[in-house]
Symmetry: C2
Subunit: 121 residues, 2 copies
DNA sequence: CCATGTGTACTATACCTCATAGTACACATA
DNA sequence: TATGTGTACTATGAGGTATAGTACACATGG
């Protein structure tokens, strides 16, 4: 695995959240495939010059959210996708999207521009 | 002004952010009109049973973001909308929207469903 | 002029989260 | 058996959050 994850110590966003969301994005974009092994806690910590406890916290979050699974003695692996589950999470995400789209419209962006961006995904 | 703002002390989101985003949403949705006076720091604090300093921090944030303006001795008022400005902010919002839409698609929601939600705004 | 309400600024305290360092244990595998 | 792995603790320091309290300058109505 290539280490595309970037951590900015000046960012007010906690480090463990930056690591967590960075890996999450790699999984969502398909860069990391199901059952693929991701770097161990200590390896990732050394590579990013971050404390292992902080990486462990990020990995734990990813496991709770269902993006990875951890096997003691073996490692951490990408969890298979399970479409349709987590309706609560989907509604939460939709709420956050709507909130930001409303603000974008308030700032003068048209719905058509926004929908165009979504089409280009 | 009616106090539709709700504050949840059990929410890990800081109180001042809840107040800030609550008022911001009222402005974006048009519930509060330009140059309309919003409750004073002390009045809002007493009404929500929250420390005035916390309300002041929320109001300060709103002023920095351009949603309100404050006049010493008079009060806090809703700022007029300025479309097209803050390109940096618009790009930030778009990034956050895209990130969440990607996750929604990953969870099995189709683009059409998402665009339908936007149309219903 | 004066009392009231307003925004603003400052100190101090307590609590929680974040990040670090260090140590330790159980498991899997070559 | 040695190594790498996830996991679980303790302890410490830094920073953000929320509170309480005090104070000052300004605008307005009586």
């Amino acid at each position: 695995m290539i280490y595309i994850i970037s951590v900015d110590l000046k960012n007010p966003k906690p480090i463990y959240e930056q690591v967590r969301d960075g890996i999450k994005n790699l999984i969502i974009r398909g860069v990391l495939e199901p059952d693929e092994k991701i770097p161990s806690v200590r390896e990732m910590a050394q590579n990013l010059a971050i404390n292992p406890n902080t990486i462990q916290k990020a990995y734990r979050d990813l496991e709770v959210q269902g993006f990875v699974y951890q096997i003691p003695g073996k490692g951490t692996f990408v969890q298979s996708r399970t479409p349709g589950q987590n309706r609560e999470k989907m509604e939460q995400l939709l709420t956050e999207v709507v909130e930001r789209v409303r603000e974008l419209i308030y700032l003068g962006v048209s719905k058509e521009e926004i929908k165009q961006v979504l089409d280009d995904l």
